[in-house]
Amino acid sequence: MSLELAAAAAVVLAFTTMVLLFAGAPPLETFRQIVQGSLGSWIKLTYVIKVWIPLTLASCGLLYTFRIGLWNIGVEGQVMAGAVLTTFILRSGVESGHPGLVLFAGLLAGIAGGAFWAILAGYLKTRGGVHEIFAGLGLNFVAQGMVLWLIFGPWKQPGIASMSGTETFPDALWLPYIEHLRISPAGIGMALLAVVLTAAMLRYTRFGLYLKAIGSNEKAAFFFGLRPRTTMILAMICAGGFAGLAGGFQVAGVYHRLIPAISSGYGYLALLVVLLSNFNVWVTPLVAFFFAALNVGSIQLPMALQLDSSLSGVIQGTLVLAALAVHALRTRIRRAS
């Protein structure tokens, strides 16, 4: 496993260097900038953690759907749906006088929103016979449209609607954070809890075993008396719930309002995280951290080197492809010997 990762990293390094040389940028300097920009100071590390939290949450959710053999690409829309419901509750609770309660309810609503969005895809799959990739992709567009409509319509800022999002919530409705570091202990707690909970669910519960059984042979699992369709819906609820919580965190803990790019592509990124982790729940938070660092580290590339920050996307994408290729190659070599 570690050897595979090292080999994949080498491939990625070589490929990225080539891309950089082609773009006329100094490779060493670029890599230094990325490391500096993500791990160079405590403040930068807190930015990374802020990305790590929703990414880890969404990745944990995907472990359930991957285990039962579903490609929940709708996770992106589930993040947005969660963000929308959290925003709704926080907006309604601005003047309630119980900010703690409102925040808690808001995050719960986020879970519910993501789960609901996932159930839609789940039903389209199990009842309508629509492949979950198409159902999820379609619902992603619907969710994005809904977010934009809310920002420019019913929830627009007083005066003029703007791409900068809805009105910012009062401080009391911000997820509590440590003053100078701007990181939220509650957020870190949620992400760590999600990892431990997911690991326990998959390893020790009957539900986890059923996910694996149905994912491995749906027909035989059915003959054994399991209910594949119901279990698939439950797996989707878990995935959507975690994704929705990630969206809720984006609203309550990062942006303090609803913005058009509220999901920040973390849903799609989480798919890559889980693939690269080889579906291992304990590796997932580490890969998520690495990806978060790449994302944050490449933010300053445009300013420092006139490079586009999408370089982090290139690195993440090639890393997953290289890891899959190296894994396949090793399996083949092992089989041959």
Binding site: Y204, T205, L209, Y210, K212, N217, K219, A220, F224
Partner: protein, 486 residues
């Protein structure tokens, strides 16, 4: 084409599936490979077909050593294998499956292939509709299609792994005639089987494998007792049929019509009683398998009524039938029966699901050990099920049947098993009948049906055309009924 295998070995970890096997197949002959399950037959043939790689040894064709790394390499050399579980594309039509791998160039040339298909079909006496999706065929029909495709792609060496499994006696005769013709045209045919009578009837020479080595060879005429001794060390005794008395009716079908198989099930009325073993005979896909699936709630009838223990169950689903005490076991073990990738212990945990939130891993492992011991499964609680041989998979599946079901429905329960395993399975199933379970099974083997059943139902073209006690009939009469002559 002469084939010579010299010192072939294949190790899976510490297991020596093949251990220095020598085999010579003379051109123009049919060579039988006999051996019980786990003797190494399938491994040897998969090596020859390029499906798995050998650990040592050499393969010679017409005296020249050849080497290839995959099935495509073997196909290019003219080696074609008919696998026991058909390798085809279920969503595609028969015709498209037939053409797959044969079409070269840009044009599909459908008409050419259609002509070739119908010619081949005719010469072998198969009746396959080229436009049916393969998913709707039965295992036997899919094997026929695979065979046609192999022949059409010009295989000079034909390997058949248990080809008579799942096809009727009539079709078997047709197949054998075809194989003799093919051998006559200087092809080499290798027949892998555990069925003595088939191998004896067809082959010119037999090699017997046992525990990964060659246990002996024999040329025509064969000495059955000697062959059995080579296979098993000693001759196994047939399973005795206990005198049973049937009790109250458990399952009743009234005028049931349902889709499935080649013909569906048409207007079937039948009753099945406690403590009775009923064998369903008929050409593959003549309605008997539909009956089993209707009786287990997997297929809903379009007409008629189904009742279990006097309760109307028409239109209810599989889970409702399960609750009512109906157990069903499919023929395709690793495709439908067991969950590839899961261990024996994990299967036990699923089978004995309680109400607890957590999996009781301790009791699952304990139950796995008990089943392994009681059902003589060669494996450990943490063995993945796909690592078990066919016979062991079947024993494991049987161990998952409920202890006291009202009704046991089995699709070809001894498919691909050797004689010893067949006896073991029937000893076990008879015990179910003795405690009052109604056992209903389908089988393409008339001998098996006559040996174990208290009643035989014969299906033809979707209709139940004969309901007889085995004492009052014989294989000849049943064979005629299967062919539609009552």
């Amino acid at each position: 084409m002469a084939i010579e295998l010299s010192g072939i070995s294949r190790h899976f970890g510490p297991v020596r599936a093949n251990d220095g096997i020598d085999l010579k197949v003379r051109p123009g002959t049919i060579h039988g490979i006999l051996g019980e399950n786990g003797a190494g037959k399938s491994t040897l043939m998969k090596i020859l077909a390029g499906f798995i790689r050998k650990s040592g040894g050499a393969i010679l064709m017409d005296g020249r050593e050849v080497s290839y790394a995959n099935p495509a390499g073997a196909t290019a050399l003219g080696i074609g294998m008919l696998y026991q579980d058909p390798l085809d594309f279920p969503p595609m039509s028969v015709m498209d499956n037939f053409m797959a791998g044969q079409v070269t160039g840009m044009r599909l040339r459908k008409d050419t292939f259609r002509k070739r298909f119908s010619l081949l079909c005719e010469s072998l006496g198969f009746s396959l509709n080229p436009d049916t999706p393969v998913a709707r065929l039965t295992v036997g029909e899919r094997q026929q299609l695979e065979l046609l495709r192999l022949l059409s792609s010009g295989a000079r060496v034909l390997i058949l792994d248990e080809p008579t499994t799942g096809i009727s006696g009539v079709q078997k005769e047709v197949l054998f005639t075809a194989l003799r013709k093919l051998a006559h045209e200087d092809r080499s045919v290798i027949l892998v089987s555990h069925k003595l009578e088939d191998v004896e009837a067809l082959c010119d020479e037999i090699t017997v494998l046992r525990e990964g080595r060659v246990a002996g060879r024999m040329e025509k005429p064969f000495d059955t007792a000697l062959l059995l001794a080579m296979m098993f060390g000693s001759e196994p005794a047939p399973a005795p049929r206990a005198g049973r008395t049937a009790g109250a009716e458990v399952l009743h079908l009234e005028g049931v019509s349902a889709p499935g198989g080649r013909t569906g099930l048409k207007d079937c009325t039948a009753g099945f009683r406690r403590g009775e073993i009923v064998g369903l005979a008929g050409l593959e896909g003549s309605g008997q398998d539909v009956l089993l699936r209707v009786a287990s709630g997997l297929v809903r009838p379009v007409r008629g009524r189904v009742s279990v223990d006097g309760r109307d169950m028409t239109g209810r689903g599989y889970h409702a039938f399960r609750k009512a005490g109906v157990a069903f076991q499919p023929a395709a073990r690793i495709e439908e029966g067991l969950i590839r990738g899961l261990t024996i212990a994990e299967h036990c945990a699923i089978r004995e699901r309680g109400k607890s939130f957590l999996v009781q891993w301790g009791s699952a492992e304990k139950s796995a050990r008990e089943r392994i011991e009681r059902f003589q499964v060669a494996g450990r609680p943490h063995s993945p099920v796909e690592s078990l041989s066919g016979g062991n998979q079947q024993r494991l599946l049987l161990s998952f049947l409920p202890l006291e079901p009202e009704l046991l429905l089995l699709e070809n329960p001894t498919r691909g098993l050797d004689i010893e395993s067949v006896h073991w399975v029937w000893d076990h199933l008879s015990a179910f009948a003795a405690q009052g379970t109604a056992v209903v099974f389908s089988s393409p083997e008339l001998d098996e049906i006559l040996m174990v059943s208290d009643r035989v139902l014969v299906f033809f073209d979707g209709r139940l055309i004969k309901d007889e006690r085995p004492e009052e009939t014989d294989a000849l009469e049943l064979g005629r009924a299967i062919a539609g002559k009552v």
